[in-house]
């Protein structure tokens, strides 16, 4: 690959050749090489994506297999296709998965609403309003990005324990209404800053208060940012494990991830099929969200470096 098209062309032709021909030769060589590299790239990318996606497809196929066919084989096609694992899995634990899915839905929906409202409020204040101490608060907000949840976990737990909130959903939901997710605030700020300031100023001259401006101008214009925050908030809350693990102790209160874990702690390891079936169902909502909102998700990451 060290051979260079330009130098070889130059060597092959007398120095009197016009530059147009030289440029054409250079472009052709470049295109040829690009084509060859393109093919190699596609082979590399296709192989990589197959390896990447293989575990997920394997799990789907395992969810249709009887237990004795799951292990010891790489095959992705079940010999017998049956839905029994889904029916069994749904009722395999002491409480039905209907309950777990309802619990998860409740926590997730309220969390999403809380996150979007409170984080867009904070984002609006930081991006558009002037007030004393703004820069200090902003710096502190950015610092909370670095603090691991484990550091605040114990005092938060003690606080909620004293409030009598353990074994309720309040510790999982109320913090979301208090703009705890600095990433979303940051995302909102980035988005609000792109909106033309003239809009606010014109509205202000017309006598609008900051509240009216938020409600009538900023909010309708920033639906993409709010949707992005809502999607990520949905995914993270739906997948959240540590919060429910700490705060929920009764099986009938469990969210889906906690319920899934019960498959592992049960004795008698003959539950693999049902376990995979429920695992598939648990990630199905996230998968569908991803398919539908792919564009928003990918732009959101590029914009703010979200996880």
């Amino acid at each position: 690959m060290t051979e260079n098209p330009v130098t070889t062309t130059i060597a092959a032709r007398p120095a009197s050749t016009d530059t147009a021909a030289l440029a054409r030769a250079y472009r052709e060589a470049r295109a040829r090489r690009a084509k060859r590299a393109g093919l190699l790239k596609h082979i590399f990318l296709i192989l990589t994506s197959l390896i990447m996606i293989y575990p997920l497809i394997w799990m789907i196929s395992a969810s249709f297999k009887p237990d004795n066919q799951i292990f010891g084989s790489l095959s992705l096609w079940p010999q017998t296709f049956d839905w029994d694992n889904y029916g069994q899995g749904w009722n395999a634990l002491s409480v039905s998965f209907t309950r777990f899915f309802l619990n998860s839905t409740l926590v997730t929906v309220l969390s999403v609403i809380g996150n979007v409202i409170s984080c867009s409020f904070a984002g609006y204040a930081f991006a558009r309003l002037e007030f004393t101490g703004k820069n200090i608060w902003f710096a502190l907000m950015m610092m909370t990005l670095m603090v691991p949840y484990h550091v605040v976990l114990i005092p938060q737990y003690l606080l909620f324990l004293n409030l009598g909130w353990v074994n309720t959903y309040l510790p999982l939901i109320v913090p979301k209404f208090l703009a705890g997710e600095a990433f979303f605030i940051f995302l909102m700020i980035q988005f609000f800053r792109q909106l033309p300031r003239e809009l606010d100023e014109a509205a202000m001259i017309d006598g609008c208060s900051p509240f009216k401006i938020y409600w009538a101008i900023i909010m309708p214009l920033s639906l993409p940012a709010m949707a992005t925050a809502a999607i990520f908030s949905f995914i993270w809350t739906w997948e959240d494990f540590l919060g429910p693990l700490v705060y929920l102790n009764k099986v009938e209160d469990y969210t889906v991830p906690l319920a899934l874990r019960m498959f592992l702690s049960q004795d008698g390891a003959s539950q693999y099929g049902p376990m995979f079936a429920m695992s598939i169902l648990s990630i199905l909502p996230i998968f569908l969200f991803f398919i539908i909102f792919q564009r928003l998700i990918i732009r959101g990451i590029a914009m703010s470096g979200l996880k």
Partner: protein, 306 residues
């Protein structure tokens, strides 16, 4: 100039700040009650012995002394976590950059590739995937079946402390999607003319990579490095599920966060767990500070050159 004086000063001050603080109010309450309050409370708790049943009892530095002098599990947890961070973060970033470079420059079907590569990052944090991982690395699971195809006899990945951490490293690298997307955005920003000029100067692909891509991408690499490092120090559920909640086998999966959870909620040693939490906070702060400090030497931003 009577704007800052007189009877209207207070009202004016109030009026100027009212809207800002009104919108900031939820965050401010959350910040004091759920962030800075708990951070300080956990610092105080770290100097006490506290099991919830009896009130906290001040014991000075005893928690920290015990931790560094006698606690072998703490040392093991540090060692496991550092190994995980030091191996998984660079591996993930190299992989993410490699794929991003292959995807750059308008390759066909880029949307499909991007979606496929990002999918694991979106599902990767779920318990479903952690459960799947446990089964993939079973002795007669998929990984060993694949190894058998090429004539290798795979180890007991999950039972052998020599190999168990690799399962989590692979899980982390598998989720290379978000740094990849960020790299992709960064690569787009590099002017194409630079590469063309380098080609005319007969630079090969390796030379182009180190002379153009790396220096111009340095801010993005740095951003991804810091973000992924913090993320790796914080990771919990994968290790918790795969190790069965205890860091088994032989504490080889005892991530710092898993140890902390175990101390706090299995043994109710809230004081000691708080001390662990503060050590974790300081470690992350130190690593981030080191990254920022060294970045002077290898990260140069576009607008400060010249």
């Amino acid at each position: 100039m009577r704007t800052t004086e007189g009877p209207y000063a207070m009202e004016k001050f109030f009026r100027r700040n009212f809207a800002g603080y009104a919108f900031l109010a939820p965050w401010l309450i959350g910040f004091f009650l759920l962030a800075i309050g708990p951070i300080l409370a956990s610092l105080w708790l770290s100097f006490t012995k506290y099991n919830i049943v009896r009130p906290p009892q001040w014991i000075g530095l005893d928690n920290y002394i015990y931790m560094f002098e006698f606690d072998d599990r703490f040392k093991k947890a540090l060692q496991v976590t550092f190994s995980f961070v030091v191996i998984s973060v660079p591996a993930k970033l190299i992989f993410a950059l490699g794929v991003a470079m292959a995807l750059d420059k308008g390759i066909r079907a880029i949307g499909w590739y991007r979606a496929l590569f990002y999918l694991p990052s979106i599902l990767g944090g779920s318990i479903a995937v952690a459960i799947l991982w446990r089964q993939l690395f079973n002795y007669d699971g998929v990984v060993n079946s694949a190894l058998r195809l090429v004539g290798l006899d795979g180890p007991y990945w999950l039972a052998d402390p020599k190999y168990s951490l690799w399962t989590l490293i692979v899980l982390a690298v598998w989720q290379f999607g978000s740094p990849m997307l960020i790299f992709l955005a960064g690569l787009r920003a590099i002017p194409q003319e630079l590469y063309e000029a380098a080609e005319i100067d007969a630079a090969g692909p390796v030379r182009k990579f180190f002379a153009i891509t790396v220096p111009l991408l340095a801010p993005v690499i740095f951003f991804n490095l810091v973000l992924q490092m913090i993320e790796a120090f914080k990771s919990f559920s994968g290790a918790f599920i795969i190790s069965g909640g205890s860091g088994a086998p032989l504490d080889s999966l005892l991530f710092f966060t898993v140890y902390l959870y175990d101390e706090a909620f299995s043994y109710l040693r809230m004081g000691y767990a708080s001390a662990l939490a503060w050590v974790l906070l300081l470690i992350i702060a130190a690593f981030t500070a080191i990254a920022f400090w060294t970045s002077k030497y290898w990260v140069h931003y576009e607008n400060e050159r010249g």
